[in-house]
């Protein structure tokens, strides 16, 4: 094994008509590293991945997989990538085993090796008992696991997971996160996109914060949090005209950032104890009713808010 990156993406660019979906995205992933691409819906994560996987023609930039250029036409580098699409990509009318067998054949796995790999993956995703049941009958979590398993069949050097926990119950979600951790400790490089800050914090060696098609910042959790500086975060859950509350809060001295989404206002302040009472009063004055308040130390979400000016929530 050499030290060269498993993936090197340079200046990736993609437009859909007038929409500049990905703008000069560059990052690399080293062997054994888990890279988290963290950003809200529509940030350009899936589009970036589609270019990395050679699915989508790009308007600019370069992708190297272990030094080999990847385009929509090259076949060889694809063998090194296991791509797990964001939406379930399985045949519901085939059994789990048939799904795995079919996709394994596309990677030129055959004979005894085919049987072994399918059995191994079934074990890894915990579906050995249900191997011969139709995938359509599976629970959501089982389908997700099968979806991921297909990406593991050919023992890729780089596993790309596009928001694998969206719409999954907490138990399955945890199982998925654990298996990603296990794969990573086996030395496989992982590109993991998510809009859940906690997942990026838990899994990723390095995180790239992506918004509006651009990587705004990149680094380890510690590095990113340091960019934000020593700030406290106040989260206020409330009902009412949160946007106007945010506007008022932004005008307060000592408030560095303010944002709202999903009934929650997030504030970055220098000193929470000093500002808390006044902030709450400001929110209440707009007619909103506050249901809970929390004060936290800086984390990735704070970094995200600082970098993009928005809260990172669904």
């Amino acid at each position: 094994m050499t030290d060269r990156p498993v993936l090197e993406a340079t200046d990736l660019d993609k437009r859909f008509g007038d929409l500049h979906a990905v703008r000069g995205v560059s990052f690399h992933i080293d062997p054994g590293e888990t890279y988290g691409l963290l950003g809200p819906n529509g940030a350009g994560k899936t589009t970036t991945i589609a270019m990395v996987g050679g699915l989508l023609e790009r308007d600019g930039g370069q992708v190297l997989i272990e030094g080999e250029p990847m385009t929509v036409r090259t076949l060889d580098p694809r063998r090194k990538i296991g791509l797990v699409p964001q939406d379930l990509a399985i045949y519901p009318d085939l059994t789990a085993r048939e799904n795995l067998t079919f996709f394994a054949r596309l990677y030129e796995i055959s004979g005894q090796q085919l049987k072994d790999r399918v059995a191994k993956v079934l074990e890894v995703i915990g579906l050995t008992d249900r191997a011969d049941d139709r995938a359509g009958e599976f629970s959501g979590g089982m389908k997700r696991r099968l979806n991921i398993g297909i990406g593991l069949l050919h023992q890729p050097r780089l596993l790309i997971l596009d928001e694998p926990t969206v719409g999954v119950d907490p138990q399955s979600r945890n199982a998925i996160l654990e298996s990603v951790e296990a794969l990573s400790s086996d030395g496989i490089a992982v590109l993991y996109t998510t809009h859940y800050m906690e997942e990026a914090e838990r899994l990723a060696t390095r995180v790239g914060i992506i918004d509006q098609g651009e990587i705004k910042a990149e680094g380890t959790r510690r590095q990113l949090v340091q960019m934000v500086g020593e700030r406290d975060r106040i989260s206020i859950t409330a009902n009412g005209p949160l946007e106007s509350a945010v506007t008022d809060l932004r005008g307060m001295s000592g408030v560095e950032e303010a944002g709202a989404s999903d009934g929650q206002i997030t504030l970055l302040v220098r000193d929470a104890s000093e500002l808390l009472a006044k902030a709450l009063e400001t929110v209440t004055n707009t007619g909103a009713s506050v249901s809970s308040v929390a004060v936290e130390e800086p984390d990735l979400e704070a970094a995200f808010l600082h970098l993009t000016g928005k809260a990172l929530r669904d």
Binding site: G53, L55, D76, R78, L83, P85, A89, E98, R105, L106
Partner: protein
Amino acid sequence: MRIAWIIARKDLALRSRDRSVFVIAFVAPLALAFIFNLVFGGGGNDIGQSVQFDYGIVDRDDGPVSQAFTEVLEAIEADGLIAVQPFDIEPDARAAVEDGTIDSLFILPSDLSANITTGLPANIEVVGNVDTPTSAGVAASIAERFASGLAAATDAALTAVETGVIGPDEIASAAAEAGAQPPVAALVGIDAGIRLLDSATFFVAGLSIFFMFFVAGLGVTSMLEERRDGTMTRLIAAPIRRSSIIGGKALSSVLIGLVAMVTLVVASTLLMGANWGDPAGVLLLIFAAVLAVVALMSFVGGLAKTTEQSGNLQGIVAVTLGMLGGTFVPIGDPTSFLGQLRFLTPNAWFLRGLADLGGGNIVDTLPAVGVLLLIALGFGVAAVSVARKVVSA
């Protein structure tokens, strides 16, 4: 090719779990053909074996126009397709139709030539028996074709009189002469019709190719399904060429089409006594027809964005071509404009090829096979370029 086969095999496995394909490909056409055969059949005439219609004629005109018409009938009679028996007394002739001595009757009115000469409307009456609608249909189309040629010729002749090229007394003979020409030329079309009509095989063949249209679109439909369901992303992410994906879809369509058609041939032969003709020729025709229909339907189906749209589009095209191609209505006027339009359809060429094969010589089917292969090539190229857009992230 190996990858195309892997994809085709997966699709076939999926389709065999989806019982609708069996219904569409086997059960429905067999059941319908069986019913049609019960309703219209009876004779169970073999395909390609010439059917002879017995016609009567009452000539009350005895002028140049009726003379020309009689000559047309004689020409067809010489080909062994019809037998014509003259009657002097009209009620006797009508009675002969009633009791089935003859299938249909032409009555030429006494003023036929006179009316034509003066540009007045004239009618050739065709009397048919409800029990032999096919025969009456063919008789009517012969008369209609003659009349339409006649009308055109009369117009030309009247113009000629006005400009002084010929005298009024020459009109009838000039018109009749001109009127006599087109039906002879048009006999090719009638010929094909006659050889196939009224047989169990005709209905099974027509319905089989009609239903093949629905089977043939399965490949392109499954391609749209793969895109809808996200599995297309996986296929594109795999180290396989996009042409292998398209190839796999085409292969599965062709295989399902071939299996369906061959099953229908075998089943209709065993169950209904249909006689398709020389197996090698039938196989050749089926192969060409399946390629043509798969190419056509893949192109049509690939124009749509969603599987639903695609299904609707395919249905419309299948039914339109089925009707145009004579699947449901074998008779009518095969020589009219609409009648000739059917040769824009693979359906008609397939049926035509089977009719030609009925002559016993496989070489006779080659024109039909050639046309079908041309359709396959043309639409195949178009379908691939359309499919390339579907096979994308």
